[in-house]
């Protein structure tokens, strides 16, 4: 190039150079950084109020449930349920028709009871019945 003092006569070509394949590397470097950035943004979103509130509410509910389970006395409930059951059975036994219960006995047992009745009616020895 001709040495000149007039800038308009300078060749406007780029005097700086870059390493080989620099621009394709630059592109992938930028892409890599923005991908990382997106995952960071995703993590930041997890920390937003919209997420924190339901998470805190869930934790609060879990704590209440945990506290309830920890302080729960299973005996008191069992005693209560046993009492209710006994009362119910007693009531049913008092009011139920025996004939109705026979319906639920297997045929053999029912037959067996017929035998016993027959033996009792005919003054059979009780020891013999038991055997």
């Amino acid at each position: 190039m001709k040495q000149t003092n007039n800038i308009e006569q300078f060749d406007k070509k780029q005097s700086f150079i870059v390493p080989e394949n620099y621009f394709s590397k630059l592109k992938s470097d930028i892409q890599f950084k923005t991908e990382n950035l997106e995952s960071k943004i995703g993590f930041k979103n997890y920390l937003s109020i919209k997420t924190i509130v339901p998470v805190l509410a869930s934790v609060f509910l879990l704590l209440i449930t945990f506290n309830y389970v920890k302080t729960f006395d299973p005996k008191s409930d069992n005693v209560l349920s046993e009492e209710i059951y006994t009362e119910f059975v007693e009531f049913e036994i008092e009011n139920i028709d025996e004939e109705y219960l026979f319906e639920f006995l297997p045929d053999e047992e029912y037959a067996f009871s017929d035998e016993i009745e027959y033996l009792i009616d005919n003054n059979t020895d009780y020891d013999l019945i038991i055997k």
Partner: protein, 182 residues
């Protein structure tokens, strides 16, 4: 490569599926021009590489908020200029030192720069440019090397067209004076 308008790119960037495609398209389109703009300000390749990457990360973060008041290219140019100036401010020797006084360290960078392919005359021209105050230097680079219009430079630097014309005129005179004297 298919051509997209700024409007198309902005719409694509807002959609989750096409966001990366739009951004890669923008990188392909502008990375070289933006790099060279930054390189002329910072001189060093390594510094320019860092600042170019930061510029595009800023673009990625903020493009969703871009309202299309200017061209995407002008907007990216503005980010690149601001990032470069911030870099120069951060790398000043003294906290209160003016950004215009960093020219000596930039001239040192230019002489030690491995990636400079120009002859002595071109090196002298670069040195002359580096002696200019920063605004004149930016105006001169954008007008002289990038053939940008004053209106576009005005949008990037936030300076009136008249002031830019004056900047360019003074810059040209100073450079010619430097070339004569050195």
């Amino acid at each position: 490569m298919k051509k997209y308008t700024d409007h198309d790119l902005l719409i694509m960037f807002k959609s989750i599926e096409k966001k990366n495609y739009a951004f890669n398209y923008i990188i392909n389109l502008y990375q070289e021009r933006i790099y060279w703009h930054i390189r002329k300000i910072l001189i060093s390749h390594e510094d320019s590489n860092d600042v170019t990457q930061n510029t595009f990360i800023k673009v990625f973060e903020n493009l969703i908020k871009f309202k299309g008041e200017s061209k995407i290219y002008t907007w990216i140019y503005k980010i690149a200029t601001n990032e470069s100036l911030s870099f120069l401010k951060k790398n000043r020797k003294y906290f209160f030192e003016s950004i215009d006084n960093v020219s000596s360290s930039l001239i040192t960078n230019l002489t030690s720069e491995n990636y400079f392919d120009g002859n002595e005359g071109e090196k002298k021209l670069q040195k002359a440019i580096l002696t200019l105050p920063i605004k004149q230097r930016l105006t001169f680079n954008m007008k002289y090397f990038d053939n940008m219009k004053y209106k576009q430079i005005s949008q990037i630097l936030g300076t009136s067209v008249g002031a830019l014309k004056a900047n360019y005129h003074h810059a040209k005179n100073k450079i010619q004076k430097y070339l004569k004297e050195n």
